[in-house]
Every structure is written in C-alpha cells, then in structure tokens.
C-alpha cells in the first residue's frame, strides 16, 4: 500500500450540502434530481438560481415547492417571500419526501425471449439525473404539518423591495455558520411589485444586486422566479440585465395555450427547458451540461426534465392513406386530386 495520502482540508460539512464532483465547490440540492443534474449536481452555495416563469406560473411554482421541501427535509433555514402567493398556503402544499425513487423498481424488466439480444443492452432513459443527490419527493402527497413546525421558516408577503431587503438582512444574520439559508422568492417583478414612482426597473435591478451581494457574503442560496415575459414588455433591456445578475438562469417555455400544444412531436412534454446562463462562481469555467436540448413534463408524482427527442413514429397509423404524398410524376398512385 502506498504511503501517499492526498492532503485535504478537513472541514465540517454543512448539513444538506456536498462537494461538487466538477469543481469541488459546496453545492446544495434544488430538491429536484433532474434540475440538479443539469446544473452540475446542485446549486452552488452563495449563488442565485433564476427561473424564468412559464406564462401560467404552473411549473415554476412546482419547482419552488421542491426547493422549499428540500430545505425542510435537510433541516435548513428557509425564507419565503411572495406578493402573489400567500406563503402559508404554499407551504402547506409542499411535496412529501419519499424513501426511494419509484423509478428504480420499474427498471427491472423481465427477460425478453424473442428479442433476447436486447437483454444485454442498457435501458434507454432520457431522464436527466444519474447521481443520487438530495431527496425525492412525491408531489401528489403533501408534507405533514409536524415537519413544517419543526423547521425554521420565515415568510414575507407585504411591502416593497426595500422592506424585503430589511427583512432579508435581519434573517441572514440569524443563520449559523454551519447551516444554510434557502431564500425563495416567487413571481418577483409581477404587477404587484410595480411602484408608484415608475422606477420599477431601477428598483428590481438594485434589489437583485443587493441580494446577490448578500448571497456571496453568507451561507445562502436563492431561488427566484421572475415573469420575464412581462418584464420584456416593460423594458427589453431588463431581461439581459437580470440574467447577468443571476448565476443560473433557466427558462420554462410551456406549451400550454400555444400552437405547440397540439403538435404530435411535443405531445410527450409540457414544455421546453432552455438553459440561459450557467456562470462560473469561485472557479474559471462553468459546468457544461451533456445536452442543452431539454424538455420537461409534469408526471403524476414528479416533475421530470428529459433530453428532448422526437417520438419514434409520428404517422397516424389508423388511416395511413391520408398521409400519401402526391408524387411528381403524372401517374402518381395517390387518390387525391392533383394540384394542377
């Protein structure tokens, strides 16, 4: 046995965090394994994760619940602020943790007798998330009120940007060094945030700059959802400026209410997930995901992010004659009348 030993600093790990495999930085789970996977294992401590909301604010809210639920299960301090949602109501609907991923039991399929050669091949699973990190949650069931009572949760639901900063500044000072504070702000910049002095754009940028400075200074992570579609209409320049202030920016492009909802190619998914920004914090280079062609779907029990692929067959098998394409020759076999 070699006498060589790698010299490592023996520091006490913060509960609910671990060291990143990619850059060695301390990371925490977002609560959703698929999202963790595309962010390089989790969210780096001191960073801001921005979720660009879908128009109907369905899926971004699901992710916010995952983020808060992970904090409760990991026994971390939580700060939840929103003007649109009643914090107490949303906290009651946090998903319940489950012991094991329900997928693992379905992976063991019986041996194939006819196509036996396929037995040796690995199963194709386009779902993002290889490593087991954080916890698994069942969004169908709700977390018990006892779990919520035990955790340190602060809420904020009324006031302006400056009042929110005051509350945040008070909260971060109460967090111990060996703990992490999770800050979750939903629908930041929605019409309820507009100020009377018409300086909303300046206010939101200043707020995010201060929030980012707070995150960098203390053991905190922030999950902020912003209706970018609305902000884009107020000021086009706001979108890139807000993205620049975030460390990770994920856009949820939902199909609901659009033409794509009925397109056969998209029928397996609820929307496209665009990675807008992954920045390098405390390191030189940012995490580079395997693929950026990602789509999401809300299953019965969980929110899943998958590698986007087209379905194996797009043709309607019931009436194949409808799909016959007229050939160039005059003696085409199609029954449809020619265009000329």
């Amino acid at each position: 046995m070699s006498s060589f030993r790698k010299r490592t600093q023996e520091t006490k790990a913060i509960p609910g965090t671990r060291s990143s495999l990619y850059n060695g930085q301390t990371i925490a789970s977002t609560g959703n394994p698929s999202l963790d996977h595309i962010l390089g294992g989790g969210v780096q401590i001191g960073s801001l994760l921005l979720i660009e909301e879908d128009p109907h604010v369905v899926y971004s809210k699901v992710l916010a619940k995952y983020f808060l639920a992970e904090g409760v299960v990991s026994k971390q301090s939580l700060f939840f602020g929103s003007l649109d949602d009643e914090p107490e109501d949303l906290l009651k609907k946090l998903p319940k943790p489950v012991e094991e991923d329900s997928n693992t039991s379905s992976e063991t399929s019986p041996d194939m007798r006819i196509a036996w050669r396929y037995n040796d091949l690995p199963q194709v699973n386009s779902e993002q998330g290889g490593q087991k990190i954080g916890h698994h949650f069942n969004i169908l069931e709700q977390m018990s009120s006892e779990d919520l009572k035990e955790s340190d949760i602060s809420t904020w639901s009324k006031g302006s940007f400056s009042e929110l900063i005051k509350k945040l500044a008070q909260k971060v000072k109460t967090v111990k060094e060996d703990s992490v504070l999770r800050i979750c702000l939903t629908s930041l910049g929605s019409p309820l945030w507009y100020s009377e002095n018409l300086e909303f754009s300046k206010d939101i940028l200043k707020f995010l700059t201060i929030l980012r400075a707070i995150l960098r200074t203390y053991n905190t992570i922030a999950f902020v959802t912003i209706p970018m579609g609305l902000l884009e209409k107020i000021d086009e320049k706001l979108v890139p400026r807000i993205r620049n202030l975030a460390d990770y920016s994920i856009q949820l492009d939902s199909f609901a209410g659009t033409d794509r909802e009925t397109v056969p190619a998209f029928k397996e998914y609820n929307g496209i997930l665009n990675i807008r920004k992954l920045s390098a914090l405390n390191t030189l280079t940012a995490f580079n995901p395997e693929t950026t062609d990602l789509a999401f779907k809300l299953r019965r029990k969980k929110f899943v992010i998958e590698k986007f692929h087209l379905p194996p067959e797009l043709q309607d098998a019931e009436n194949p004659q409808d799909d016959i394409v007229p050939s160039l020759s005059c003696g085409g076999s199609g029954k449809k009348s020619l265009d000329f």
Partner: protein, 247 residues
Amino acid sequence: MAASLLLACGLQEQRLPKHIHISEESNIDGSFMISSILGQRVRVTNNKTLLICLQNNFKHYLNAGQRLGYNLQMHNGKSLTVIDIVTDIGTDPLSCRWLETSNPTETLYKAICDELVKLQGSVTIIIDNLEGLLNFGASAQDLYALCIKLHKYLEQSSLEHFTLATKLNNCNVFEVTDSNIETLSDLHLRLIKLKSGSFKEVDGRIAISRPSMEEGTYEHSIHSKNVLYKVNEKNIKIFSPGEVGLK
C-alpha cells in the same frame, strides 16, 4: 496557464496600455479575462494593483486565481489592494456607503483616489464591472465621467506608469456607453458569443483592437484581430479562426 491568452491580447508585457477596456456581450462569462490580467499584474515586480470588485467578491478572484496558478492571498495587503464592494454591501445592505448615495461613481472615485495616494511606482487599477454602478443608480454619463476623471487624475499623478482596466458586461445592451468608453481606451477587447450557437471546443470569440497614432503625424489606424477561446478548468486555450485543431 493564461499565457497564450495574454500573448494573443498583447497583455504579456511589463507595461500595459494605459487603458484596457473589456466589453462582454450578454450570455458570455468573461471573468476569466480579469483573472488572467490580475495574475499577470501581481507577478510583475514593483507593480501595485488595485482591484475593485463589483461583479464578484474577493473570494471568487482568489479561487479563480488559484486555478490559474497564482495566490492572491500572498499579495493581498502588499502589492494588491482590494475594494470589495460586493462584500461591503452584503455585510451591511441597509446603511452601506455605496447605496446611500444617488451617484455611486463619486463614492468610487473618492475611494480610488484615497488608495492611490498611498501607492507609488507602477499602478494597475482593475474595475470589474462597470454595470454594477449602473445597477446602483448611476447614469451612463456618470460612468463616462468617472473614466475621464480617472484618466485626468492618473495623468497628473506622480506615478511612474499606470494602467486602468475596465470591464462592462452586457455591452450590447449599453452600446453607446460602451463605445464611448472604448474611444478612451488604448486596447479594446470584446468578448463575442459564437453566432452558430454553443460549441464544446470553443466558448467564444475575442475581437482585439488597438488604435495607434504615429508620433508627429495625424495618421490614425486601428489594428484588429480575432481569436477564439476555450476556458478550461485550469487554463485558457486560444485558437485562430479556422485552425486545424478544431474538429
């Protein structure tokens, strides 16, 4: 570790141009550029560096520097002075001097001057990034005025040599401001996103332009070139456009 980048940009010399301006387009991470310049400056003997942190806190530059093979902690307080605005705001977000004023550029100018008084010889001032001042409420004119005032102050000072390095993020959003500051600079580096989308082997393009005026004449020309870059975990690779090594 960043030698090829510094060489390509003409930043390997002991005496750098008086004003280096780095423009960073949206969705591009150009923090490696500041880390590379910082690493080069702290290694130069008899050079004092003043780092103004508006984008990240000092911890980021320290960690990024270690990846590039230099330790800022060794130089901190000696040849390196840091004005960590991010940490100042994070520690006291309610009554911080940077937030109390309507014009933070004035506060920054005073802070820089206070530090420069203590320094002698060759000095490098690195401001990362100017957009942070706009977020605190400064106007585009304030930014331009800050650069001009710093130029004047440095020219009139008794310093042996000075270099001012500024970086502006989202330069495509602040096009007028960016081009105004660019006119003041002696070396302009623009980090451009690849038009063809994301690529595993290349992160982006650097457009390098250096205006030159021949002494005694009114002839003015701009030397420009483009290089491609890839930021790895511990180094930065530079390629010429169309280089054979790219697959």
